[in-house]
Symmetry: C2
Subunit: 273 residues, 2 copies
DNA sequence: GAGTCATAAATACACCGTACATCAATTTGC
DNA sequence: GCAAATTGATGTACGGTGTATTTATGACTC
């Protein structure tokens, strides 16, 4: 097991690239000091760094990330890009954000935090659950990158504002005789479904960002490719796809359909007692 | 609109990086010939390329990709890695696969193709749908990278073997008085749900790949982080999470629970006529 | 006043996907 | 029969990615 060269503590595994030598930036700096100590003092001031006016913090970074993702898609978000937008050095970001993975979690949390569910909400468990689903869907509509990132959050999820949705749903169902474990499962089931029903929204947004010309080209190529695979004797039903079926498989309609089926399923569960 | 410098045809947009100049490799080669033609003939043979023994093809590449993903996770799959494993040059892969995106689609298709649904399957729509869900779940268990990639396939999906699942589900429900659009929606709803219910399996697999030592460290860090966010007065229900709730939120149990709720929901729809 | 720490940023490494260039071998068209 | 075109394989290079380490400055503490 590798240990820190300065303090001897266990090193957490390096995410990628070279193995770690120090357990923290503090140890790295300490080691640097030690090395510098016994070295001819040739070091002198070369650069006077500009002081950032307002100062950096986690919120600023996350807001910048969300803004980029909203405008140009999740793919446009990178540490370099954010640093450029904020006018700071790339590595400065790491002072406030552990890394790319944490930034993703923070983006998800920020998005959910901007749209809290109302208290106490409408009457009745069904209206409540339906509302919570529509609110979450509205979020995915507003931030097409969100569903993908929400599905990719660290597990168990580390975003309080995302958990707030789960909590609200559990409270919506509390007092109807269901066990705690069942409340958990219903709440998770709904979130799970919405997340992946919303994934196609990212494709729509990607298309919308193209120029009218290339968008048409792109859509045509996709459609053509699909029609080629669709026309397969082993897919008798899919071969019958027409305008009506395409309409039915629009994200909006899949969302709506699945929501009602799930709520009907929950109703069955409640009737059984 | 940019056009090919050789043949003047419209250029499809470059996926990333430099803009295209030619519409195909053929045109690129033609341009090269033209350039070489009026140039002192200094070019001579420098290298005799080794002929690949068995020859490359799409299947070989896709199988290699699936093998790497199974063993080391989706993150380990890269064009360079595959080329290395297969003992060929990186760019040789592009002769059989359009690019990374198509490779993803092909991996998904290959996985689903390896587990076709039985014909005619069990009796009754409910048993059929349940079987199809369990088969798909078994796939996600066998290939933890699959759910993520399946969610990220191009839309509409271009993988016949994935569509075969949709088709089979639609046939399972055919003849019960539901409209074609409803069949589509039920089939998509089930697939959608399973995909995102399976995402956490990738985390489990990632954990399993770690050494026992680092796995414990990793799990402890995750758990600690979660318990910190969970203990929040604004999350009264989540704060109550105990062993039972954690057990209930295991992927396997979420899968099982959601499946039965959805099938109950479909049953309600059928009763209504 | 010396030592420590928080902040900021440049540099460097190990990756990634893929456009284009370049060769040899094969196929095609006349 | 032979030149032209095409195909297959591969090297090189570009423009990115995340992040470990190093270097530097000021502010705070003992």
């Amino acid at each position: 097991m590798a240990t820190c060269e300065m303090c001897g503590r266990a090193l957490r595994p390096s995410v990628r690239g070279r193995p770690r030598r120090y357990c923290s930036r503090a140890c790295s700096a300490r080691a640097y000091r030690a090395r510098v100590a016994d070295r001819p003092a040739t070091v002198e001031a070369r650069r006077t760094p500009e002081v950032a006016e307002a100062g950096l913090d986690q919120d600023v970074i996350v807001r910048a990330a969300v803004a980029v993702a909203d405008r140009e898609g999740a793919g446009a978000v990178s540490m370099r890009r954010l640093a450029g937008d904020l006018g700071v050095g790339v590595m400065s970001l790491y002072r406030y954000v552990a890394g790319r993975e944490e930034l993703n979690d923070l983006m998800v949390d920020a998005a959910f935090g901007a749209r809290p569910l109302p208290e106490p909400g409408p009457d009745g468990w069904r209206a409540k659950l339906e509302l919570s689903a529509r609110e979450e869907w509205a979020l995915y509509r507003a931030h097409p990158w969100l569903s993908h990132l929400a599905a990719a959050t660290t597990r168990p999820p580390n975003a309080p504002n995302l958990l707030a949705y789960t909590d609200w749903r559990m409270r919506a169902l509390d007092g109807h005789g269901l066990g705690f474990a069942t409340l958990v499962q219903i709440a998770i089931m709904i979130g799970t479904y919405l997340q992946s029903a919303a994934v196609p929204l990212a494709y729509e947004a990607q298309a919308a960002r193209r120029t009218r010309h290339t968008r048409r080209q792109w859509a045509a190529a996709r459609q053509e490719a699909f029609e080629r695979t669709m026309r397969d004797p082993r897919l008798p039903m899919v071969s019958e796809f027409g305008a009506e079926a395409f309409e039915a498989s629009e994200p909006e309609n899949i969302f709506e359909f699945g929501l009602h089926r799930m709520l009907d399923g929950v109703a069955v569960l409640l009737e059984r007692g």
